[in-house]
Symmetry: C2
DNA sequence: GTCTATACATAGATAGAC
DNA sequence: GTCTATCTATGTATAGAC
């Protein structure tokens, strides 16, 4: 493994483990087992290294899920996969890493760009699936797949931060969301008559709200 | 205004404006217009000051909303109030502040405690309202109000972080959530027959999932 | 309670030998 | 590409005068 890659991997790890507020070029180098000065040989600055690490690690994990997401075409399948995806990515520290990057990004343009890249990468995958699922759903034509994908991604990040602060509370939150998923699934499985009625009602309300 | 209060206010501001990674005792003191050494006279450490600032500012904003939340008893009212609450708190920087605290809390026990306090304070208010709304809802008895309140709070925080990184994307996410709110409202307004049917179906699925 | 001054640690970043 | 050494800035925290 080349030094540059060691640094990228170490930076990704350090983000999840130490958080943006505690991270430093020195701590990353130590974690990578390389000399501190090499950070500035291989990258312009610490922020630059962090940004590169985010892109690198998001590319990896998204690619990992691309195939599995491609197989999903129903809401039940999506919810099930989302459940395991959330657990796996959380354990890998990828969600925590994203949360830290986004927190740091509020002031560091380089990190903001990397965060945007990461969310776009995840959201693009999720969006494709949601769009497919929406085709047969009462919500088809009402709910914007791109927006929904982004909402899901952002919510994951909020939940991850919450988990670091109050694991029990976060679990209760996740359980509640799971119930809502089942409700959505049920509504989704209504017959064509109920579906049409629901869709008409919602459309009426949304239009009214849009005018206000 | 006493120096201690100036520091608390400045710390709260600084959290939203600078973020945990950039904040320092010096920057807070400068913002408060007081001498840097006073941070350590009035507080044990910077982390201690930040934690106190979070409690102080969350107490203020929650009290502000307590009365208005107490008036809410239907889902439509809740969604409407949630909309304005989100906008107002965001503009005040309170959500950004929370997001930063939670990011920093992953490594700083003092901040974690303060973050827990803040979320509990918000969630307690929201929970009471949700419980009231759930009474007449198809979801009554199925959805845990405490968990739902925490999920909403966490999602707000994730969305706030996202907004700092990609305002347009965050808007599309919020719009999608708004549509889902309308859907929930519609489902909520179904007749008693449909309600009973939906509840039975969901309960069956939840039980099955719980056994798995 | 507030100020100046300062000790001390750690950070980002660079120069120059190897 | 990698190392040692080092400059410089900034941060936390304290001592002691006012």
């Amino acid at each position: 493994m080349k030094t540059r890659d060691k640094l990228l991997a170490a930076a990704a790890d350090a983000l999840a483990a130490e958080g943006v507020s505690a991270i430093s070029g020195r701590s990353i180098a130590a974690r990578a087992g390389v000399n501190q000065a090499l950070v500035f040989y291989h990258f312009e600055s610490v922020a630059d290294l962090l940004a590169a690490a985010v892109r690198w690690s998001v590319d990896e994990s998204v690619a990992d899920y691309r195939r599995r997401l491609a197989d999903v075409s129903t809401l039940s399948e999506l919810l099930a996969l989302g459940d395991t995806l959330q657990a796996v990515e959380r354990d890998r520290g990828n969600v925590a890493q994203m949360a830290q990057v986004m927190a740091g990004a509020q002031q560091e343009p380089r990190l903001a760009e990397a965060a945007r890249y990461a969310i776009d990468a995840w959201a693009a995958e999720v969006e494709a699936v949601i769009a497919r699922v929406l085709e047969t759903s009462p919500l088809g034509g009402l709910l914007d797949a791109a927006g929904a994908a982004r909402a899901v991604t952002a919510a994951f990040i909020g939940l991850q931060l919450y988990e670091g602060v109050d694991p029990a509370g976060a679990r209760s939150a996740t359980d509640a969301l799971r119930v809502l998923g089942v409700v959505a699934e049920t509504v989704d499985g209504l017959g064509p008559v109920a579906t049409r009625a629901l869709r008409a009602r919602v459309r009426r309300k949304v239009t009214r709200a849009g005018r206000a």
